[in-house]
Each structure stands twice: as structure tokens, then as C-alpha cells.
């Protein structure tokens, strides 16, 4: 019973921390993009626009909730929730510092990857239930894209797993105690896997240049074209939570999670900063590329990224076996 209360409390804290992070990460992105584009960005609400996310959230809450007349009401209303749940669940197995997390499963990374792939169900429900042609095209693309990119994503994420020999996220973090042991600095394999990971997360998160399912210049807003108010906010929340989750995972797999200079209690801060770094990399790519076409996206996945990550994973395994047998 007491463990149930513990999970409830920790889960509650993590959930709210994530929601808070999402709101401010959007501000960070807007400020960052504004600087890239020689603009100032949000500035009016609060000092340096710091209250902008709160104003946005309030605005979305007060918006009229519109359900299209011909929509499949049940599917349409359920979709944002179905979409949000996996995006939040991915944080369940993330350790934020040694022993600090909701549940450090021994198959943590598997859980993360499996759950994050589930968001497609909510996406598809939203696009189908809206009964809108733009939304339908968008989810058709989404299904193609997410299925194509999940494999390279998993293969790239498996490289640190093979190097560590454990599926448990805290073990993977513990295997990178200092900068030299971060997996991104592992000769050749580390860098290649990191690049593959970033590309695959871009696609899995539906960010430019892979945001063909939002594609507002062709499909207006894709699967969420009919959503408004809080339902729209939930979808947005889920999307950014997914990005933050993937950034955390990337920081954990390749950038040594909480390892960094200073006392041990600084660990979570380092982890957070690394997550922000990963997020900014994604943002930087987003604001400097044009979107690629659906057939090009699929070709890139199946013809380049898939074989490349597969070869990478196998060679990682060979290297690990060779190192163990050679005894160093």
C-alpha cells in the first residue's frame, strides 16, 4: 500500500514537472527561433515574455471547443487523451538521478521505445475521427513515417544498450561516469549512432524536416486541423512532452545523463541542461531546413537509415564481443 502511495506521489510530481517544462520549453524554442531569424520573440507578457506560456495556456483554455458536425464524436474526443498518455508514460522509467525516478524498470529502454511508438494510435484516431481530408492525408503519412522510423530509432538507441550490456536506463547512465566514457565519444560508433538517433527522433517527433504530417503549407495543420481549445492544447502538450522525453533519452544514452563536474546533487541539473542541449539541437535543425516530401522521407528511412543503423548495431556487437574476448 505504501509503495502505491509512493508511486502516486512521485508520479504526480514528475507529471507536473513535465507539464511545467513543456510550457517553458515552448518559450525557449520561440526565443531561440526568434534569435535565429533576427527577431526578438515574445516580449510583452511579463519581463522578457516570461509569462507568455501561461498566457497561451489560459487562452487555449478559454477557446471554444468545436466538434465538427460530421466528426466521429467518440473517436474525435478520445484521441487527444490517447495521444497524450503514451507521451507522458515515457517518463515513467526515466531516472533523473541515481535512484530518483518513478520506476527504474530492468527493461526501461524497451518500455520507453514501445510506449513512445504508441502515440500513433492517438494520432490516427484524431485524424480519422475529424472526418477531414487534410487530417486523413496527414495520418496516412503519419502511419507510413512512424513505422519507417521506429526501426532506425530503436537500432540507434540499442547501440548504447549493447555497449553497456543492460536494458536498464540507470545502468546505461552508470556506464558513462565521466566525459571520456560518454557514449558519444566512443570512437566512430558513438558519433554515428548519435547522428542516427537525432535523425530518427526528428522523424519520430514529427519535427521539420520530417513534419510532413503537420505540413501546414499543404495540409494546413494536418491531423489537428479540426481541434481547438483544450483538445488542441493536449495534443501540443503531448507533442512537446514527447520531444522532451526523447531529448532526455538522448542525453542519457549518449551524453552521460547526470555525470558532470561538481557535487553529486548537481547531477539532475546536468541532466536537465543536457536535455536542453538536445532540445536546442532539434530546434536548430527545425528552423533551418525545409520539409522533405513523403516519398523522400520513406526512401531515406528504408534505403539509408535502416541499413546503416542495422550495420552499426551489428558492428557494435562485434566490437563488444571482440573487446570482451580480448580482455579489455
Amino acid at each position: 500500500m505504501s509503495s502505491a502511495i509512493y508511486f502516486f506521489i512521485v508520479g504526480f510530481i514528475v507529471l507536473n514537472a513535465i507539464i511545467g517544462m513543456v510550457t517553458y520549453v515552448t518559450l525557449l524554442e520561440r526565443k531561440f527561433a526568434a534569435r535565429m531569424q533576427s527577431r526578438i520573440g515574445p516580449y510583452r507578457v511579463g519581463p522578457h515574455g516570461l509569462l507568455q506560456p501561461i498566457a497561451d495556456a489560459l487562452k487555449l483554455m478559454m477557446k471554444e471547443d468545436i466538434v465538427p458536425r460530421l466528426a466521429d464524436r467518440r473517436v474525435y474526443n478520445l484521441a487527444p487523451i490517447v495521444f497524450l498518455i503514451p507521451c507522458m508514460l515515457i517518463f515513467a522509467t526515466l531516472p533523473f538521478a541515481p535512484g530518483l525516478g518513478v520506476a527504474d524498470l530492468n527493461i526501461g529502454i524497451l518500455f520507453f521505445l514501445a510506449v513512445s511508438a504508441m502515440e500513433i494510435v492517438g494520432l490516427f484516431m484524431g485524424g480519422w475521427g475529424s472526418n477531414n481530408k487534410y487530417a486523413l492525408l496527414s495520418v496516412m503519412r503519419a502511419v507510413n513515417q512512424i513505422i519507417s522510423y521506429d526501426l532506425p530509432f530503436v537500432f540507434a538507441a540499442m547501440v548504447p544498450v549493447v555497449l553497456t550490456g543492460s536494458l536498464k536506463l540507470s545502468d546505461i547512465a552508470a556506464a558513462q561516469p565521466d566525459v571520456l566514457h560518454w557514449f558519444i565519444f566512443y570512437p566512430v560508433i558513438g558519433q554515428l549512432a548519435f547522428v542516427a538517433y537525432v535523425v530518427a527522433t526528428l522523424a519520430a517527433e514529427n519535427r521539420v524536416p520530417f513534419d510532413i504530417l503537420e505540413a501546414e503549407s499543404e495540409l494546413i495543420a494536418g491531423f489537428r486541423v479540426e481541434y481547438s481549445g483544450m483538445k488542441f492544447a493536449l495534443i501540443q502538450l503531448g507533442e512537446y512532452a514527447h520531444i522532451i522525453g526523447s531529448s532526455f533519452l538522448g542525453a542519457l544514452l549518449f551524453l552521460g545523463a547526470w555525470s558532470g563536474p561538481g557535487p553529486e546533487w548537481l547531477g539532475p541539473v546536468w541532466f536537465f541542461l543536457k536535455m536542453v542541449f538536445m532540445f536546442l539541437v532539434v530546434t536548430w535543425i527545425r528552423w533551418s531546413f525545409v520539409r522533405i516530401r513523403v516519398d523522400q522521407i520513406l526512401a531515406l528511412s528504408w534505403k539509408v537509415l535502416m541499413p546503416a543503423t542495422l550495420v552499426l548495431l551489428i558492428s557494435t556487437a562485434i566490437v563488444v564481443v571482440w573487446r570482451t574476448s580480448a580482455g579489455f
Binding site: 527561433a33 535565429m36 531569424q37 533576427s38 527577431r39 481530408k133 487534410y134 486523413l136 492525408l137 496516412m140 503519412r141 521539420v208 524536416p209 513534419d211 510532413i212 503537420e214 505540413a215 501546414e216 503549407s217 499543404e218 495540409l219 494546413i220 527545425r286 528552423w287 533551418s288 531546413f289 525545409v290 520539409r291 522533405i292 516530401r293 513523403v294 516519398d295 523522400q296
Partner: protein, 386 residues
Amino acid sequence: MDIEARQVLEMGYGGAERITMNMGPQHPSSHGVFRAILTLEGETVVAVDAVIGYLHRCHEKLSETLTYTQYPSIASKTDYVAAMTSELAYVRAAEMIGKIDVPKRAQYLRVIAAELQRVASHCLWLGTWCLDMGGALGGGATVFLYCIREREDVLDLFESLTGARLLYGFHQVGGTRYDIPDGWAQQCRATVDKIDRRIDEFEEMLESNAFFMARTQGVGVASRELAQEVGISGPLLRGSGVGYDIRRAEPYSSYEDFDFKVPVETAGDCFARYRVRMVEFRESIKIVRQALDGLPAGPISSRPGVKSVGQVRIPKGEAYARVEGARGEVGCYLIADGSAKPYRMKWRGASFSNLALLPHIIPGHKVADVVAIMGSVDPVFGEVDR
């Protein structure tokens, strides 16, 4: 003829489920109010039906009620992205009928205005085109904002020249309405130098981007034959391998004095059109510099200052004047009856003819290419619908 059925057969499609999707008239990338009815098979467009007319404002009829002094300001509103062009076409038509001389200084000023306008217009084209391909929430927006920044500089020049930023009323029958203010030439030189450098940056940013190349090369190919058959003009025509430019073929307003290249690309795809416009940027800047260097002294108009709007009377006659606008041939057909107002007027909008290319080159492409192709055609709907 059932265009849809024909194209479906030609492409070897048929039987699969088709959906009809409406792109526009309110759509983020329709560049105005344009409706394209797309017939899709999956993601592939098999037919496109272009619907125009949402922005019709009776420009041609309106011109019959306005005098030769008043209308140039209204002519700006046909192509509001490159307002100087249509003004020039109109006053040239009137000058041709009345056999009115234009002083050399006014001719040079007209050239400067026209070429700066081309730079400004191409800036907006590049920005919006990248916006179409890259998304308002992505890299496209970055290019867009950079381009708008440069365009603003040109508009600042126009503002100190005419007092207006979008619709100028700079030209008048017999010359120009305003002379350049003090220090303007220097400011203009500085601006074009800056834009010249920035164009290099844009080129580097875009052409080193594999995704940009993948989205533009081989997309929306218009062959030389098709281009001539449909009657497109301007950068589109030159992108399809026809080196036709009115400034060269039929020089007006002293264009024969200037040394400039007419860029031609043979591929006919979106990337070729992009290349043509990027070279035109530089050629326009070159012409502006030459015109500033050789700007002769003298009057800016061969007619006395305007005292009343009805003062300019054009003798009976008719003429077709054409100029090379940013989007192609802008023509004005004018019939004068000896009074202060034209008897009849007809516009030939470059975008209108260029838009006719869309149903020929879009089918067979994916939905995402539709916006890329439409953007590369660079339509301005004020000029299409008039």
C-alpha cells in the same frame, strides 16, 4: 473535354479510390485567394482544376472613369508586390499614343525604380516560396524573415522616394512624379550592396541544403515546347530555356544603355526557375548601379507640373505597351479618345498567363509538390484577377 479522365488515363492510373481535395481559396500557401481543386489518388495528384476570380476588382472598367493622372496610382494595385511595373506599363501606353517624349533623366529613374522593384519582388518570392516548402513553423520561416528584412530596405528607399511603401504613384505621363531626394543615391548604393551580399548568403544556405535540392530539382518540369505553347513569360520562360526578355528584345526606357545578362536555364524545373531569379537579382542590382552612375541631369518630366487631374489629354489612338515585370510580360492595351480619360483599357497580367501552366505541370506530383510548384510560378492574385 474531361480533363480529369484524360489525365488519369495518360498516367496509367485508374480504378483506385480518388478523393477530391480543395486547396484554397483560403489556404496558407495559396499566395492570395486561389482555389485549386485537386484530384488525388493517395498522395499523388492526378488532376488539378484552377479556379480564379476571387480578387476581381473591375480594374479595367475602373480605368475608364479615372484620368491619365489619377490612374497610375490605381495601376499599382494590380500587382501589389511589384507596383512600379504596372504603373510603367500604363504610362508607356499613354505616351505611345500621344507620342510624348520622356526626358533621359526620367527614363533612368524609371529604370532604377523598376529594377529595385524587381529585387523587392524577388525577395518576397524567395521568402514565400521557401515558406511553402519549409513551413511557417520551420526553416522556411527563417528564409522568409531574412527576405522580408531585405525587402524592407528596398521599401525604405521607395518610401523616401515617393512617400509610400507599397503603392507608389511614381510614374506619370511624360516622366516621373518625383525626383530623387538628396543623399538617396548613396543610400540606394549601400542598400543594393548589402542585398548583393545577402543573396550570396541565401544561395549558400539553400543550395548546400540537400533537402532543398531534393524538393526543387526535377519538380514541375515545363519543357521548352510547353512553355511556348502555354504562353508563359518572365523567369518561368527563361527557366525553360527560352532566352526572351522584353528589356532586351524590345528595349524601352533606355534599357539599351545598360549592360546586363539575361539568364537562361534549360532544365525547366523549380530549381531552374530559382536559379534564373537568383541571377536576375544580381543583374538588377548591376543595372541599378549603372543607372545611378550615369544618371543624367535635366528635367524629370517633359510636361509641366500637374495643376488639375484633367490636364493630361491623350489624342485619339490605341497602343499596346509592354514591360518586363518581375513575373514576366506586363502589358497594357489602351484606347484613347482625345479626352482626359481612356476610352478602354486592358491589362495583360504576367501571373495570369503563368498560372495557366499549373494544370500541365502539377499532375503526377505529390501533394507537397503542388505548393512548391505554385510557389515557383510566383503568382500575385491582384494581377491575375485584376
